[in-house]
Amino acid sequence: MEKAILSIQGLSKSFGNHEVLRKIDLDVQKGEIICIVGSSGSGKSTLLRCINRLERQTSGKIFYHDKEVRDIQREVNEYRSKVGMVFQSFNLFSNMTVLENCMLCTRKVLHLPKEEAFDRAIAHLKEVGMAPFINAKPAQLSGGQKQRVAIARSLCMNPEILLFDEPTSALDPEMVGEVLAVMQNLVETGLTMIVVTHEMAFARDVSTRTIFMDRGFVVEDAPPSQLFTNPKSPRTREFLSRYLAG
C-alpha cells in the first residue's frame, strides 16, 4: 500500500462536555475519493473542520505527508493552501466579483502575478461553467452557481486535497445535479477529495471509499460496493435503510 498523504491519528474533539469526535483514525491515499455519510450530529462536519484546522482538536494528531500539522499560524496557512475546503454555505466574498473571488487567494497567498492568477481563475471557472459570470457579484447568482464558483475558487489554489462539507445541502434538487456533475468531473482529474454528503447515490457511484460515522465514531469504512450492499454494522444498515428505502 502506498504511503498516506494525510493521516489522522486518534483525533478527538469535545465542545465542553459534549464529545463530538472520539479517537478517529483515518489514512488518505493520493487520488482517493472518500465520502463520509451519517446522520446529522455524528461529527462528520467537525472532522472536516478539524482537518482544515478551522477547529482545534482536543487530542490526537494530523500528519500531512508524514509531517505533523502543528498549531503554528504560518505552517497552518501553508497547509491550508494545499488542503482546501468547500462549504455548505458557499462562503464567497460578497464584496467581490466572481473573478476577484477566484483571484484573491492566488494573489495574496501564492503571490502569483496578475496574468497568471487571471488565467488560472478563467481556466477553473470554465471547468465549472461559470466563466461568463466573472463580473457578477455572489448575490446575483443562484445557489448552484455560487457553489460552482466556490469550487473553482478552491481549485485555483491547486490543492492536493479538497474537502467538501455538505456542498449540496443548501441547494434545491435541480442545483444539486449541476454541482454534483462538477464534482464528478473533478474525480477524473485525479484530485483527492473528502466529501461529507447526504447524497447517497453520489457516495455509492463516485467514491472509492465510503465512511459511515455515528456519534463521533467511524462505524464502518469500506468500498461503497460493500458498504451499500452488505454493511457489516447493524447501525449502518439501519441508517442506509432509511435512505435507500425512500
Binding site: L54, D71, N77, S81, M85, F87, N91, F93, S94, L104
Partner: protein, 256 residues
C-alpha cells in the same frame, strides 16, 4: 481683521440685529467657522483611525503558537483599549475637555486650546468608533472569514482584504453621523477657550447684550454646515451603492 463690510446702522428687529452682528463681527464668525470645521474634520478623521485600530485589536484572536510575550502584549492592549473606551463613553465631552486641557497644562505641556480640542474630539470619536467598528466587523458573517482562512489566508490578510472593506461599507452611515455630531459637539470646547463658533457667539452677544440674536447667527451657520455635509454624504453613499446589473462576459460563453 480689517473687513470692509457695509455695517447696518441702528438695527431694530431681530433680523436686523442678526445682520448687524453678522456683518460687524464677520471676521470673528468666519474664524469660528474655520476652527469648528478644522477641529471637527481633523478630530473625526484621526478618531476614525483610532477607532479602527482599537476595533481590530479587540477582534484579535490569540493562536496557540504565539510567544508568551506576544500573548501578554495582546492581552494588555485589549485591556487598555477597553478601559479607554469605557472611560470616554461614560463621561461627558465637556468634562473630558477640561481634564485633558488643564491636566496637560498642569503637567507643563504647552498645548494650545485648538490642539487640545482636536485631542479631545479624537479621543471621544475613537471610543465611539471602536464600538462601531467592532459591530461592523461582527456584521460580516463568519463564513466569509472561514472561506478565506480555509485557503491559507492569514487572519490579518483576511481582515484587511475580506472583512474590513465590507465592515467599512456597512458603517459609512454611522461615520457620517459621528462627523455631524462632532461638528456640533465642538461647541463645548469654548470652555477651554477654543475660538470656535460658540465662543464667537458668546463674545459677540456680550458686546451688545444681544445673546439671542448672536446665537441665532451661529445656529444658522451650524445648520447650513450640517445640512450641506449631510447632503454630501448622501450623494457619496448613493455613489457607492452596488448596481443590480453585471455584464455577461460573452467571450467566455460556450457556443455549442
Amino acid at each position: 481683521m480689517p473687513f470692509d463690510f457695509p455695517v447696518l446702522e441702528n438695527p431694530e428687529n431681530t433680523f436686523e440685529w442678526m445682520a448687524f452682528l453678522a456683518s460687524k463681527y464677520f471676521g470673528m464668525f468666519i474664524e469660528g467657522t474655520i476652527n469648528t470645521l478644522y477641529i471637527a474634520v481633523v478630530g473625526t478623521v484621526l478618531g476614525f483611525v483610532l477607532g479602527f485600530a482599537i476595533g481590530i485589536i479587540q477582534d484579535l484572536d490569540m493562536s496557540a503558537d504565539d510567544l508568551p510575550i506576544v500573548k501578554a502584549l495582546i492581552k494588555t492592549l485589549k485591556l487598555v483599549t477597553s478601559a479607554y473606551v469605557e472611560l470616554f463613553r461614560n463621561t461627558p465631552m465637556i468634562v473630558q475637555a477640561m481634564i485633558v486641557y488643564y491636566g496637560l497644562r498642569q503637567a507643563d505641556v504647552a498645548i494650545t486650546p485648538v490642539a487640545a480640542g482636536i485631542l479631545v474630539t479624537l479621543l471621544n470619536t475613537g471610543a465611539y468608533m471602536a464600538e462601531t467598528v467592532r459591530g461592523g466587523i461582527g456584521s460580516i458573517d463568519i463564513g466569509q472569514r472561514e472561506g478565506a482562512l480555509s485557503m491559507g489566508m492569514s487572519p490579518m490578510k483576511t481582515m484587511v482584504y475580506v472583512v474590513l472593506p465590507q465592515a467599512f461599507a456597512n458603517i459609512i452611515p454611522e461615520m457620517a453621523n459621528t462627523f455631524l455630531t462632532n461638528l456640533k459637539m465642538t461647541s463645548v470646547l469654548n470652555v477651554i477657550a477654543v475660538q470656535e463658533l460658540f465662543m464667537a457667539a458668546k463674545t459677540v452677544g456680550g458686546n451688545y447684550y444681544k445673546y439671542f440674536e448672536s446665537y441665532l447667527v451661529i445656529a444658522v451657520i451650524y445648520f447650513v454646515l450640517c445640512f450641506a455635509f449631510n447632503r454630501l454624504f448622501l450623494i457619496g453613499e448613493r455613489h457607492l451603492k452596488d448596481t443590480d446589473d453585471y455584464a455577461l462576459a460573452v467571450e467566455y460563453l460556450e457556443n455549442d
